[in-house]
Every structure is written in structure tokens, then in C-alpha cells.
């Protein structure tokens, strides 16, 4: 059956989802830059900086996901 050979894609998507949620949880619990940034910036500027940081983290998450997926794919297709 086809699903057996594609389980790794389900695992890949599951880990992408889990890491996304874990990242959001850690950001919420551990990182709150607003009080520090508000010393130097207005409320609006802090919002923009937070969006940029989030975008950067999203990009890093995408790159990490890509590396893992390509490695898994090469393992499967090479075997």
C-alpha cells in the first residue's frame, strides 16, 4: 500500500507543526522584548520590530524544515 512508503512525509509535516507550536509557546513564555524595547522606541516601533523578529524566526524555521526534509528525501530515494 502506498501510505507505508509515505509515512515519512506525515512525520515531516507533524514535526513542522509541532516545532511551530513549540516555537510560539517558547516565544510567549520566555521572550518578552516589549519592556526592554519600549525604553528606546514608541509602541508602534516596538510592534514593527516584533513583526520583523517573528518573520525572521519564521524564515529560520522554514530553512530548518527544508534541511530536515531534503535529508529524509535523499535517504528514501537513495535506498
Amino acid at each position: 500500500m502506498s501510505v507505508r512508503g509515505t509515512v515519512w512525509i506525515y512525520v515531516d509535516i507533524f514535526f513542522a507543526w509541532l516545532s511551530m507550536l513549540l516555537g510560539l509557546y517558547l516565544i510567549d513564555r520566555l521572550v518578552d522584548l516589549a519592556p526592554i524595547l519600549e525604553e528606546f522606541m514608541s509602541r508602534t516601533q516596538v510592534g514593527v520590530v516584533e513583526v520583523l523578529i517573528t518573520a525572521l524566526l519564521f524564515l529560520l524555521w522554514l530553512i530548518a524544515w527544508r534541511i530536515l526534509t531534503v535529508k529524509a528525501f535523499r535517504r528514501i530515494i537513495g535506498s
Partner: protein, 329 residues
């Protein structure tokens, strides 16, 4: 606002698309607008650009909602106009074969109706984090978000029924999410979109009798994007679309950016004589979701299409879990 119009929204778009698809297909075949179904050994010619019939369903249902639900008319109008702009760009692409970068830039225009009608709420709900106030960044991001969803769905149409089937699953998930989150406007708009896409899937599933063309895939992508931007639950939608995101991101990163089909030296898959499709082992071939599905062994087109939909159903299940992890639900 009540859910009393929900059956009407769904039925109008479903019936309009179901009835108009054979007529559009017949017109396209008569004009010689056909595409070769490359994944079948007999290489049949299938009517192209039939995705236009989905527009009939979208417009009929969203137009009706504008009339019966006046308090949310600007939202339905914004969704309808966004879809029309994206479909126009898709149609130009069907005729002129636009460069990938031009497609990405032009598709941002589909976000303008939402901005013009101010049919958005710049406070997305993020799991664990809660509501985030993005008064400046959110409207700036809307055109790019619409371009991403349009181009993502355009790239996620490799086998019969993959695009229309997976879009049906994603929209069903969003309708369910809006229902659970108590967003009737989202439920109605979602059902108006779902009816048309589901009716089109009847003709587009394996073995396909019609092809959507870029006009159809761009319209569906904009429909998804505009539904989410105007009704919220952005992260839920991203999770539901993870297989499509994976597909487009892997293609872009493996070919080194936005490149046309002609500049890619090796095709990702190959049709074997017995009708099976296998993944090409050449490392220069783009890494697509279909190539990943075929990595372990060759498969038939119907199996690939089924796998595509099962993956979308799996990510949609994760999307519903994500909904429950957001606050205020």
C-alpha cells in the same frame, strides 16, 4: 446574522458550478483549448481553463450573500473582487505564459479590494500568544499573503484532482473552524467558496474530464487567502495548507528561486510504460511533493492524487487541534 443562509450559500455555488462546468468545457474543446494529460499512457486531450466555471459559482453565491446579509456585504464583495482579480491574472498567464516573478508581483493586486474596502481585522489570533495588534504590518502583508496563496495553489496542481480536492478539504476545515470560533460571516463565505470548488472536483478528480487552468488555480488560491484575511484564524489556515506550503517552498528552494518550467533542466517525475509514475533520481530535478510521494516506489496517478488529499486531510486535522490551542475559542 444567523446561519440560516448557510445551505443557500453552499447550494447556489455548488449547483451553479456543477451546471456551468460541462458548458465551459464544451466551449473550450470547441475552441481547441485543450491540454494533454501527461500522466496517462494514452495522452488524452482535456479541455483547459475550465476553472472559469468556479467563478460562476463564487459570484452567484457571494453576490447572493451581499444581498441577503447587508451588514457583511463589504466582506463578501472584497472576497469576490479579490477572486476576480486573481482569476484575471491567471487568465493572462494562460494566454501569455507569464514569468514566475511577474506572476508573484501581479498576484499582489488581488489584495487591493480587501484593503480598499477595509474588510480585514488587523488583530490575528496566535496560538498561546493570543491576539496580536498589527495595525501597520497587517495591511502591508495582505497583498503578499494573497500572492502566496494564489501561487501556492497554482503550484499544487500536479495530478488530477489534487488542487480542487485539497482546496475542498482546506475550505471545509476553515468552515468548521469558523463555526467552532463563532464566526458566521466566515462560515457563510467559506460555504460559498466550498460549493464551487467541490462541484469542480466532481469533474476534475481522477480521471479528469476538465483542467482548471491557471485561471482556476489562481482563483482558488485567492479565495482561500481572502477568506482567511477577512475572517481571521490565519495560523489555522497555514497549518491546514502545510502540504501545499511544503510543496511550493521545496520547489522554490530546490530550483534556486522563481524559475519557469523551461529553465528547469530535469522533470521531477517520469511516466513508465505500464502507466506507473516514478520519481526521477537526478539531483537537479526539483523537489516537489509528488516526487516525495514517489520517493520509495513508483505509483499510479490515482494513488498519488489520493495521497495528496490524505496529506491535506492530515494537516487539516492538525489545524483543528491548533484552533483549540488558540485562546478565546
Amino acid at each position: 446574522m444567523s446561519y440560516v443562509y448557510a445551505p443557500l450559500a453552499f447550494a447556489t455555488s455548488f449547483v451553479a458550478t456543477l451546471l456551468s462546468t460541462p458548458k465551459v468545457a464544451s466551449y473550450m474543446r470547441g475552441k481547441g483549448i485543450v491540454g494533454v494529460d501527461v500522466h496517462k499512457p494514452s495522452k488524452p486531450e482535456i479541455p483547459e481553463r475550465v476553472g472559469l466555471s468556479m467563478l460562476v459559482g463564487f459570484i452567484a453565491s457571494l453576490g447572493l450573500l451581499c444581498l441577503v446579509d447587508l451588514s457583511s456585504a463589504s466582506t463578501y464583495l472584497a472576497v469576490m473582487l479579490s477572486i476576480l482579480v486573481a482569476a484575471g491574472i491567471g487568465l493572462v498567464d494562460d494566454f501569455k505564459d507569464l514569468k514566475p516573478l511577474h506572476k508573484v508581483i501581479l498576484a499582489t493586486l488581488s489584495g487591493l479590494p480587501i484593503l480598499a474596502l477595509r474588510a480585514y481585522e488587523p488583530r490575528p489570533l496566535i496560538p498561546f500568544v493570543g491576539r496580536v495588534r498589527l495595525t501597520i504590518a497587517y495591511p502591508i502583508a495582505i497583498p503578499f499573503a494573497l500572492s502566496v496563496t494564489s501561487n501556492t495553489m497554482n503550484m499544487a496542481d500536479p495530478v488530477n484532482g489534487a488542487m480542487s480536492g485539497s482546496a475542498s478539504i482546506i475550505i471545509t476545515t476553515l468552515v468548521l473552524a469558523y463555526l467552532l470560533a463563532g464566526k458566521p460571516k466566515g462560515v457563510l463565505a467559506g460555504l460559498a467558496l466550498l460549493g464551487a470548488v467541490l462541484a469542480f472536483y466532481v469533474y476534475n478528480r481522477y480521471p479528469a474530464r476538465v483542467f482548471s487552468g491557471n485561471v482556476g488555480s489562481f482563483a482558488v488560491g485567492a479565495a482561500l487567502g481572502s477568506l482567511v484575511v477577512t475572517n481571521g484564524l490565519e495560523v489555522v489556515a497555514v497549518v491546514a495548507m502545510l502540504p501545499q506550503v511544503l510543496n511550493s517552498f521545496m520547489i522554490l528552494s530546490s530550483v534556486g528561486g522563481l524559475k519557469g518550467k523551461t529553465s528547469i533542466p530535469v522533470r521531477p517525475t517520469r511516466l513508465l510504460e505500464d502507466g506507473l509514475i516514478e520519481a526521477v533520481k537526478d539531483p537537479r530535478a526539483p523537489l516537489t511533493l509528488v516526487r516525495m510521494i514517489l520517493a520509495s516506489s513508483p505509483k499510479r496517478e490515482a494513488e498519488i492524487a489520493r495521497e495528496f488529499l490524505t496529506l491535506t486531510a492530515f494537516s487539516s486535522f492538525l489545524a483543528i487541534i491548533t484552533l483549540f490551542l488558540t485562546v478565546e475559542v
